[in-house]
Every structure is written in structure tokens, then in C-alpha cells.
């Protein structure tokens, strides 16, 4: 059990972060806080990918004359990092769209409190 925690503690923390974000999205009443939660969820997923690429004693994927090409194990897998660049762009765009919608909601109803919005949209 202790070994499991020691070996994978980063993943456990990231799952916890995911759940905190989920809590924010589902339970919080203010739409702005829901967006915070959404952002936390996205960040935790991105960090999860990055963590999955981690290798002990390995370095960035740039040819280092000191290490050479003999042992590719000494380099990290660069794929998750590059993929996550795309995911970060997606996350930023999602934030942009959600802020645009929030502005439209505030203009229409003058509040961002969900129960009050549900009352006014009835």
C-alpha cells in the first residue's frame, strides 16, 4: 500500500485536483466559480498527461552531446508535452467562449447566481 502511494502519489494528487474541480462545477452556485472549477479540471488533465511522460534521470528531448544517441532511455517521451500544448490552447479558447457567454447572461439577467437565474428564466 505504502509502495503504491509512494510510486504514484502525483497521480493521486491530480485525481484529487480533478475532483476538486468537479466539485466546483457541480456544487458552486456562482457561474464564475463554475468556470474556475472547469479550468481546474482541464489543468489536472493536462498535468496528468505531463506526469505520465516523466522518467527518472531522463532529460528533455534535445540531443545532448554528453549523453549521445546510444541510450534513448535517457530522453523523455516528448509526445505528451506537444499534445498538451494543443490541449492548453483548447482550454484557453473554452475559457474565452465561456466568458463571452457569461457577459451575455449578465447583460440579459443582471446576475450570475444560478438559483436566481433559474428563477428568472422560468
Amino acid at each position: 500500500m505504502l509502495e503504491l502511494i509512494e510510486g504514484y502519489y502525483a497521480y493521486f494528487f491530480l485525481i484529487l485536483l480533478f475532483l476538486i474541480g468537479l466539485y466546483g462545477m457541480m456544487i458552486k452556485r456562482n457561474l464564475m466559480k463554475k468556470i474556475f472549477g472547469m479550468s481546474i479540471v482541464q489543468s489536472s488533465v493536462i498535468l496528468f498527461w505531463i506526469t505520465s511522460a516523466f522518467k527518472e534521470k531522463a532529460t528533455v528531448t534535445v540531443l545532448d552531446p554528453g549523453i549521445g544517441l546510444e541510450n534513448p532511455d535517457l530522453y523523455l517521451n516528448p509526445l505528451p508535452h506537444t499534445l498538451m500544448l494543443t490541449a492548453i490552447v483548447v482550454a484557453v479558447v473554452t475559457l474565452g467562449v465561456s466568458f463571452a457567454l457569461i457577459i451575455a447572461i449578465y447583460r440579459n439577467y443582471g446576475t450570475l447566481d444560478e438559483p436566481r437565474l433559474l428563477e428568472r428564466t422560468r
Binding site: 480533478f18 468537479l22 462545477m25 457561474l31 463554475k34 468556470i35 472547469m38 479540471v41 482541464q42 488533465v45 496528468f48 498527461w49 505520465s52 509526445l79 505528451p80 499534445l83 494543443t86 490541449a87 483548447v90 479558447v93 473554452t94 467562449v97 465561456s98 463571452a100 457567454l101 457569461i102 451575455a104 447572461i105 440579459n108 439577467y109 437565474l117 428564466t121
Partner: protein
């Protein structure tokens, strides 16, 4: 033109159309419409050609910038993808014809953004269908979703709020998908679909893979509006403009269902999907009952969409050939029926000024063609023989019988009765109420003075075309199944 480039051209044409549409919009709204329509028609013919080529020569594969599959991104147009592609692009063409007048009436100042977002949405959806790379799928998923949020936010005063709720849940769905994908990537080290399906049997039963698959299925379920995760769907569909709803309702959720099909094919139908079959069955019944409780026609149709997504999920997860054919045929049929019904609902709202199904008295007198098209769609929805809906349901029932699960046979039959209840209310008020004596005198005067006021030809023609296609699909369903669905079937094509 070389047919090998078709897989790339399909999403790229939409992408270029989405860039050209706002530029054309500077000249005028009708130019923007023309450009987007031209793009959609072009892609529709491309997908027809691609489907034909895929059926005769086998799957078309395009390797982006020449990088070979396990490393690079590949676009694959196999018969299954081609079938979906033809459905969604064909729908887009008809919806764009309809949208010209509908947007003009409902949101004239939002016309150019509407066409631009439609093209962007289709970039995402057609890319999702055609891609052979799991991360690429995520990118296309987000492109289509972001365009979809903005598209559904065009509408009444309430539309931005319901679009926001869709945004939070949709982003969560994409988050689940990406989270699940990292588990699969950690285990197999590949993102290519074909490569993944070769790798997964080697690590079958691994806890990591199971967790990843559950997360991915959860994400796909959120996107397709499968029953307990459907809460965003009725609100978003009800409050958006009728053109946006009639585009997203037939097309959007089907493509999410296609992700589910792909993932299940890749993972070789793991045993945990039996649970999903039960969820789908509960969803069919519950959503049908919720649909009966609605009086707003668009909201009722939205709940009916949730129920029909349940049929598709049921057909896929029963995991036998007949049920699979039923599910694929139902994707086609449901796209057609929902388009007609939402087209009709939009036209009725414009002409009669109401969406309350109990106020539809005299609909056949005022809008005879709309009423006729709606009647065909309702018959197909309930499953009355010459229409397409009957055949997809019969395949689903045969599939359930073959799987030996009589409970699901009962679910399909009961839900057919429930369908009958909620659609018959519409038919009863609009067709038969005039002959009853129950109407108040005021109401009778209104009915007597009603004159024929059909929706404009631009909106009527696509509605009638689809309703004719519904009957044609019913008559020629044997040919569609033999020539298109069976070659695209994972048990036959390997």
C-alpha cells in the same frame, strides 16, 4: 481528382468555408449563405464519392504530411465513416437551405455568424468521423463543441444561459475523454486507432485500461446526451433558434454516438458494456415518459432525442450484428425524422406564433404541407411500416432477440407505445380537434377564419425533401443495409 485525397478534403473544405464565409459576409448576408451552401454541397458530393470509393476499393487512408500511421496522423474513410459522413453533410446542405429564411425571420443580424459557426461546427464533426487518431479526435471534438456552444447561444434571451450549462457539461465530457485517453496511452504508447486496437488485446483486463475505457465512455455519454447525463440537452435545444436546433439535433449527438461505436470497436466490445445496455434501456423509458410531460413542442422533441439516443446506444451495446445494423439504420432514420420535426416546429412557431402543442388546432388547414411532412415523420418515429423508423426498430428487436435478452425487446415495444402517446397528442390536437365540439366559441371563430398560410418555399422544400427521403429509406432499407451498413460492420470487415 484522386480519391485518396478525399479524407483530408472533407474537413479542410469546411475549414476554408468557415474562413471565407465572414469575408463574403462583408458583401452581404446572401453571399455568406451562398459560400457556406456551396462548401456544404461540395463536401456532400465528396463524401458520396468517398463512400463509393471506400465500398469498392476498401478504406481510403490519407497520411498527413506523409508521416506513416503509428507516428503520424492518418485520416481514414472506411464504409462506416463514409456512411456517417454522407448523413451529416447531406443534413447540413438541407439545413442551410432552410436556414436562409429561418434565420432571416428569427435573428437577421446574426446571419453571418450563424453560417460561419455552422461551417466550423461541421469542420469538427466531419473531422471526428474521419480521423484515425485518438488525440486528433479530441481536437475535432473541441472544435465542434466550441462552435456548437456559440451556435446554440444564438437565439432568445435564455439561450446564452442554456448554452453555458451545455458548455460546462460538454467541457467536462471532453475532460473525461482526455483523462481516459491518457490511461490508454500510458498502457499502449500509441494514439493511432488501428494500432490501438491491435495493442489492447495484449493488455486485456488491465485495471488501467478498464479505467480509461470507462472514462472515455463517460465522456462520450455526456456528449451524446445519454440518459442520466442528458440534462443540458432539452434546455439547449429549446432555447436556441430553430435553424441551430435543426442542425445540431440530427447531427451533433449522432457523431458523439459514433465515438462510442469507434471506441467499442477499438476495445473489442469489453464485457463492461452490458451495464451500458441497461443504462440505455432505462434512458429510453425515462426520457419517453419525460417527453409525455412536456407541452412545448421543441422541448418534447428534445426529450424524444434523448430516448432515441438510447435506442442507438442499446443497439451498439447489445454487440451483435443485427442490433448493430439496427443502430446504424436508426442513426440515419433519427437524423431524418428529427430534422423534419424541428423544421416543422420552427415553421409553426413562425407562422402560428406558438410552440404549445395544445394550441396547434387547425394546423392542417393553415399549413397543409408542413402538417403532411410532420405526419410522415411522426409515423416514422412511432414505427409504422412503409417509413424508415419501422425497419430500424425491427432490426433492434431482432438484435435483442438474438442476444436472448427478452427484457430489452419489451423495453423497445413499451417505448414504441410511449412514443405513440406523446406524438399522438400533437396529431390529435392538430388534425382531429376541429371535428370535436369541445372548442370554446372563441376558439371556433379563430379556426373558421384561419386561412392557408404555408411557410416560405425555402423552408418548405427541404422539409418535403426529407419527408420523401424517410419513405424512400423505408422502401429501400434492404439495399442500404446490404450495400453500405454490412460492409462497414466490424464483424464482417475485421
Amino acid at each position: 481528382m484522386n480519391s485518396i485525397q478525399i479524407p483530408l478534403l472533407i474537413p479542410v473544405t469546411f475549414l476554408f468555408a468557415s474562413l471565407l464565409t465572414p469575408l463574403a459576409g462583408l458583401l452581404g448576408r446572401s453571399w455568406a449563405h451562398l459560400v457556406s451552401l456551396a462548401g456544404a454541397v461540395f463536401v456532400f458530393f465528396l463524401s458520396l464519392k468517398g463512400l463509393g470509393a471506400a465500398l469498392t476499393e476498401g478504406p481510403l487512408r490519407y497520411h498527413v504530411s506523409g508521416w506513416l500511421p503509428p507516428m503520424g496522423i492518418e485520416f481514414v474513410l472506411d464504409p462506416l465513416a463514409g456512411f456517417l459522413e454522407v448523413i451529416i453533410t447531406g443534413m447540413t446542405v438541407l439545413v442551410l437551405i432552410y436556414a436562409r429564411k429561418s434565420v432571416e425571420i428569427e435573428n437577421p443580424d446574426k446571419a453571418v455568424p450563424f453560417y460561419t459557426l455552422t461551417m466550423l461546427l461541421m469542420t469538427g464533426l466531419s473531422g471526428m468521423v474521419i480521423t484515425g487518431d485518438l488525440f486528433n479526435l479530441y481536437v475535432f471534438l473541441e472544435i465542434s463543441a466550441l462552435a456548437g456552444y456559440a451556435l446554440l447561444a444564438i437565439g432568445g434571451k435564455r439561450a446564452p444561459f442554456s448554452a453555458f450549462r451545455y458548455l460546462t457539461l460538454g467541457t467536462l465530457g471532453a475532460g473525461f475523454y482526455l483523462m481516459g485517453l491518457v490511461f490508454l496511452f500510458m498502457t499502449t504508447g500509441t494514439l493511432n486507432m488501428a494500432d490501438m486496437s491491435r495493442m489492447l488485446p495484449l493488455v486485456n483486463g488491465s485495471f488501467t485500461v478498464t479505467t480509461g475505457l470507462i472514462l472515455i465512455i463517460l465522456g462520450a455519454g455526456l456528449k451524446m446526451g445519454l440518459f442520466p447525463l442528458h440534462t443540458w440537452l432539452p434546455e439547449a435545444y429549446t432555447n436556441a433558434s430553430s435553424a441551430a436546433t435543426s442542425l445540431i439535433a440530427p447531427v451533433g449527438t449522432k457523431v458523439a454516438a459514433y465515438i462510442l461505436i469507434r471506441m467499442l470497436i477499438i476495445s473489442g466490445f469489453p464485457p463492461l458494456i452490458e451495464l451500458l445496455t441497461w443504462v440505455a434501456a432505462v434512458g429510453i423509458i425515462a426520457a419517453s415518459i419525460l417527453a409525455i410531460a412536456q407541452s412545448d413542442i421543441k422541448r418534447m422533441l428534445a426529450y424524444s432525442s434523448v430516448a432515441n439516443i438510447g435506442y442507438i446506444a442499446l443497439g451498439i451495446t447489445l454487440a451483435n450484428p443485427l442490433a448493430f445494423i439496427g443502430a446504424m439504420l436508426h442513426i440515419l432514420n433519427h437524423a431524418l425524422m428529427k430534422a423534419v420535426l424541428f423544421f416543422a416546429a420552427g415553421g409553426i412557431f413562425n407562422k402560428m406564433g406558438t410552440r404549445d402543442i395544445f394550441q396547434l388546432r387547425g394546423l392542417p388547414k393553415k399549413m397543409p404541407f408542413t402538417a403532411g411532412a410532420m405526419l410522415i415523420a411522426v409515423f416514422s418515429m412511432v414505427g409504422i411500416p412503409p417509413t424508415g423508423g419501422f425497419f430500424s426498430k425491427i432490426y433492434l428487436i431482432f438484435g435483442a432477440i438474438e442476444a436472448g435478452t427478452w427484457f430489452f425487446v419489451a423495453v423497445i415495444l413499451i417505448s414504441t407505445l410511449l412514443n405513440f402517446v406523446y406524438f399522438f397528442r400533437v396529431i390529435q390536437t392538430s388534425f382531429f380537434k376541429p371535428y370535436e365540439t369541445a372548442g370554446t366559441p372563441d376558439d371556433d371563430v379563430k379556426y373558421e377564419s384561419m386561412e392557408m398560410d404555408e411557410m416560405s418555399p425555402g423552408m418548405l422544400v427541404p422539409t418535403l425533401i426529407i419527408s420523401v427521403v424517410i419513405i424512400l429509406v423505408g422502401l429501400f432499407n434492404g439495399a442500404i443495409v446490404d450495400k453500405v451498413i454490412i460492409p462497414g460492420h466490424p464483424w464482417f470487415s475485421g
